[in-house]
C-alpha cells in the first residue's frame, strides 16, 4: 500500500473515532504530566467536550452516502451512524456523572484513568458499530471489554469492587473464548473474515455438514454475545458487577455497553446468519433459529424481572432490571420485523435516558447516604420532592407506563413481534407479563420514596427542611448530575409524548437502514 492509496481513503469517515482517540490520548498524557494538585475533574470536562465534538461530527456525517474504507474493514452505513449517536450521547451523560462521582474511600490516584478508560471503551464500541470485518469487530469488542474490566475494578481497595471485577473478567473471558470459537468455524467455512464476503460465501452453502457446523457456530456466537448484553445464560455477572462498580461505571455498563452489545449482535447475526440458506426453500438460518433466540429472550425477561423482586440493593435491582430490558430488546431482535432497527434504536434511546437518569439519582442518593440499600430512598419525597418526582419519571418509563419514552419503546417492540407472520404471541405475552411483574419492584422504590417516612440521618435532614434550614441535600447539587437528571427527565417525557421526533429523525435520515448489507 503506497502513499496514494493511503491518501485516497476517505479518512473523514472516521472523524468521530479519531476525535475520541485523540482526546483519549491527550487525556492520558495530561493526566500523567499535570501536577498532582491539579483537579482531575477538568480532564472530565475536556473529555466531555471531545465526545460532544465527536457527536457533532457524526451528525455532520449523516448526510453522507454509506462508504467503507480500509478495504471494507471500516464502514460507515446508516446503522453505524444511528448507533454511534446513541453511544456518544450515552457516554456524554456518563461523563457528566463521572465528574461528580465522589466515592467514600476517596477518588484516590485513579481519577484521570476514570475518564480516559471511558473514552477507550467508547472507542471500542464505536469501532464495533462500524466494522465490516470480524477482526475489527473482535478488536473493538475487546477494547470495550478490557476497558470495562479495568473500570469495574478501579476502586482497588474495595473488596466488593475487586470481587466483582474478577467475576467480570472471568465471565467475560469465557464468553469471549466461546464467541471466538464460533467465529473460527464461520471463518473456516467461508475462508474470509469480511462480513460482506462471508455473507456472499454463505449464501451458497448447501453441504449439510457445513450447515451443522454453522448451527454450532451460531450457538457459540450467540452464547458468547449474550454476555455483552447481559442476557441469559450469561447474565450472572451483571448484578455483582453493577453492585461493585462505581456508579458511573455501572451506568456506562448498563447503557453504553449494552448498546454496544446489541450493535455487535445485530452486526454479526444479521450479516452472517441471515445469509445462510437452510432447508429446501432456502429459508435463512437466522429465521430458522428464531425460536432459540426467542427462548433466550423469554428466559432473560423472566429471570431479570423475577429475581429483581427480591433485591434490596438498588444497584443490584437495576442490574436485574437491565437484564430484563435486554430481554425486551431481544424480543425485537427475535421478531426480525420491518421495524426491528427502528424499535431497537428507539428502545435503546429511551433506555439511555431513563437508565442514565435513574443512575444519576442513585448516585446522588447513595453518595449522600453511603449505602445502596433501597430503604435509603425512604422519604425522598419529603427531603427533595423534585428528585423524587424525576426518579418517579424514570421508574415509570422503565416500567413502560404511557406518557414516557419507555412505553413507546415497548409499543414499538411489541408491534414488531406481532407484525410478523407467524406472530410471536408467546414472546409478546411473556414480555408484557414480565412488564407487569416489573411494576412491583419499580413501584416498590416509589413506595419508599413517597410513602415511607425518612429514616435516621435523612429524617434529621427532613426535619431541618421543615424548620426552614437549607438541608445538606440541597446545599450543593453537583452540576453534572443535575444536568443529567434534567436532560434525561426532559427527554424521557419528550420522547414519550412526541416520539415522532425520533421516528422522523430515523425515517428521514437513515432510509430504513437499507444499506446495512450493501
Amino acid at each position: 500500500m503506497d502513499l496514494e492509496t493511503l491518501l485516497s481513503f476517505e479518512w473523514s469517515l472516521m472523524t468521530p473515532e479519531f476525535i475520541v482517540l485523540i482526546v483519549a490520548t491527550l487525556l492520558t498524557l495530561l493526566d500523567l504530566f499535570l501536577p498532582k494538585k491539579f483537579n482531575r475533574n477538568h480532564l472530565g470536562w475536556i473529555g466531555l467536550a471531545g465526545i460532544l465534538l465527536a457527536l457533532v461530527s457524526v451528525f455532520g456525517l449523516i448526510g453522507r452516502d454509506p462508504g467503507s474504507i480500509l478495504y471494507d474493514t471500516f464502514r460507515l452505513d446508516s446503522f453505524a451512524k444511528a448507533f454511534k449517536i446513541l453511544l456518544l450521547a450515552g457516554s456524554a451523560l456518563v461523563f457528566l456523572l463521572a465528574i461528580d462521582y465522589e466515592p467514600k474511600e476517596g477518588r484516590g490516584e485513579y481519577r484521570g484513568e476514570f475518564f480516559y478508560l471511558f473514552l477507550t471503551a467508547l472507542l471500542g464500541a464505536m469501532i464495533m458499530s462500524s466494522s465490516g470485518d470480524l477482526i475489527t469487530l473482535f478488536v473493538g469488542l475487546e477494547l470495550l471489554s478490557i476497558s470495562s474490566y479495568i473500570l469495574a475494578g478501579l476502586r482497588k481497595t474495595n473488596v466488593k469492587t475487586n470481587e466483582s471485577a474478577m467475576k467480570y473478567v472471568i465471565n467475560g473471558s469465557i464468553s469471549t473464548a466461546i464467541l471466538l470459537f464460533g467465529m473460527s468455524y464461520v471463518y473456516g467455512i467461508t475462508g474470509t473474515t469480511n462480513l460482506k464476503a462471508m455473507a456472499g460465501m454463505l449464501s451458497t452453502v448447501s453441504d449439510p455438514q457445513h450447515l451443522y457446523l454453522l448451527g454450532l457456530a451460531f450457538f457459540m456466537i450467540f452464547v458468547g454475545l449474550s454476555f455483552k448484553i447481559a442476557a441469559a445464560p450469561f447474565h450472572m455477572w451483571a448484578p455483582d458487577v453493577y453492585e461493585g462498580s462505581p456508579t458511573p461505571v455501572t451506568a456506562f455498563l448498563s447503557v453504553v455497553s449494552k448498546t454496544a452489545g446489541f450493535i455487535i449482535v445485530i452486526r454479526i447475526m444479521l450479516s452472517i446468519f441471515a445469509a445462510v440458506p437452510t432447508g429446501d426453500e432456502g429459508f435463512p438460518m437466522l429465521f430458522a433459529l428464531q425460536d432459540y433466540i426467542g427462548f433466550l429472550a423469554g428466559a432473560t425477561m423472566i429471570i431479570g424481572n423475577v429475581v429483581a423482586l427480591r433485591q434490596r440493593n438498588i444497584k443490584r435491582l437495576f442490574a436485574y432490571s437491565s437484564i430484563a430490558h435486554a430481554g425486551y430488546i431481544l424480543v425485537a431482535f427475535t421478531a426480525m420485523s420491518y421495524v426491528m432497527f427502528d424499535s431497537i434504536w428507539f428502545y435503546l434511546l429511551a433506555y439511555l435516558f431513563m437508565g442514565m437518569g435513574a443512575f444519576a439519582v442513585i448516585q446522588l442518593i447513595t453518595a449522600k447516604e453511603g449505602s445502596e440499600d433501597i430503604s435509603h430512598f425512604a422519604g425522598l419525597y419529603q427531603r427533595s420532592p423534585v428528585l423524587a418526582v424525576t426518579m418517579a419519571i424514570f421508574l415509570l418509563s422503565l416500567a413502560g407506563i404511557p406518557g414516557t419514552a419507555g412505553f413507546i419503546g415497548k409499543l414499538n417492540i411489541f408491534l414488531g413481534a406481532l407484525m410478523v407472520n407467524p406472530s410471536h404471541y408467546v414472546l409478546a405475552s411473556i414480555m408484557i407479563a414480565t412488564t407487569v411483574v416489573s411494576y412491583v419492584y419499580y413501584f416498590g422504590i416509589m413506595t419508599q420514596m413517597f410513602f415511607r417516612p425518612a429514616a435516621g440521618l435523612a429524617r434529621a435532614e427532613a426535619a431541618a427542611t421543615v424548620q426552614g434550614e437549607v438541608p445538606a441535600a440541597r446545599r450543593r447539587l453537583p452540576t453534572g448530575t443535575t444536568a443529567v437528571i434534567i436532560i434525561c427527565a426532559a427527554a424521557t417525557i419528550l420522547f414519550g409524548i412526541l416520539p415522532q421526533l425520533a421516528f422522523d429523525f430515523l425515517q428521514s435520515n437513515f432510509n430504513q437502514f437499507i444499506d446495512f448489507m450493501q
Binding site: M1, L3, L6, T25
Partner: protein, 125 residues
C-alpha cells in the same frame, strides 16, 4: 513435496535437540548416581540453608508486588512484539502506510510505558 520434507526435517532436528537437551541431564544424573560412592548424609544436611542459622518460617512468603507487575509489563510488551515482527519482515512490501500505522501503534505503546513510568511502576522498591 520437497519443500515439505525440508520443512518437516528442520523441525525434526529441533525435536532431536529437545530430546538431547532432556536426555543429557537425565543421563548425567544417572551416571552420577552410578559413579558416586554410596553415602548416608547426616540429617542436618537436608535442612534448608540459612547462613548457618536454624531455618524458620516457610520460605514461600508473599512477594513484593513489583515482581508481578513486571510480569504483567512483560506480557503486554512481549505480545506487542507479535505485531512488530511480522511488520518488520513484511516492511518492504507494505511501505509507508505500515510505517505510519506502526508509528501510531508504537506511540500508544510508548504512552503505556510512560504511564507505567509515571505511576512509579518501573521503580524497584
Amino acid at each position: 513435496m520437497e519443500l515439505l520434507n525440508v520443512y518437516q526435517n528442520n523441525y525434526l532436528i529441533v525435536f532431536v535437540f529437545l530430546c538431547l537437551g532432556i536426555l543429557l541431564p537425565v543421563v548425567a544424573l544417572f551416571a552420577a548416581k552410578l559413579l558416586r560412592p554410596p553415602y548416608k548424609a547426616i540429617e542436618s544436611k537436608y535442612t534448608t540453608y540459612e547462613s548457618g542459622m536454624e531455618p524458620f518460617h516457610d520460605a514461600r512468603v508473599q512477594f513484593n508486588v513489583r515482581y508481578y507487575v513486571f510480569a504483567l509489563m512483560f506480557v503486554i510488551f512481549d505480545v506487542e512484539t507479535v505485531f512488530l515482527y511480522p511488520w518488520a519482515v513484511a516492511y518492504e512490501k507494505l511501505g509507508i502506510f505500515a510505517l505510519i500505522e506502526m508509528l501510531i501503534f508504537v506511540v500508544m505503546l510508548l504512552i503505556g510505558l510512560i504511564y507505567a513510568w509515571k505511576k512509579k511502576v518501573l521503580k524497584w522498591i
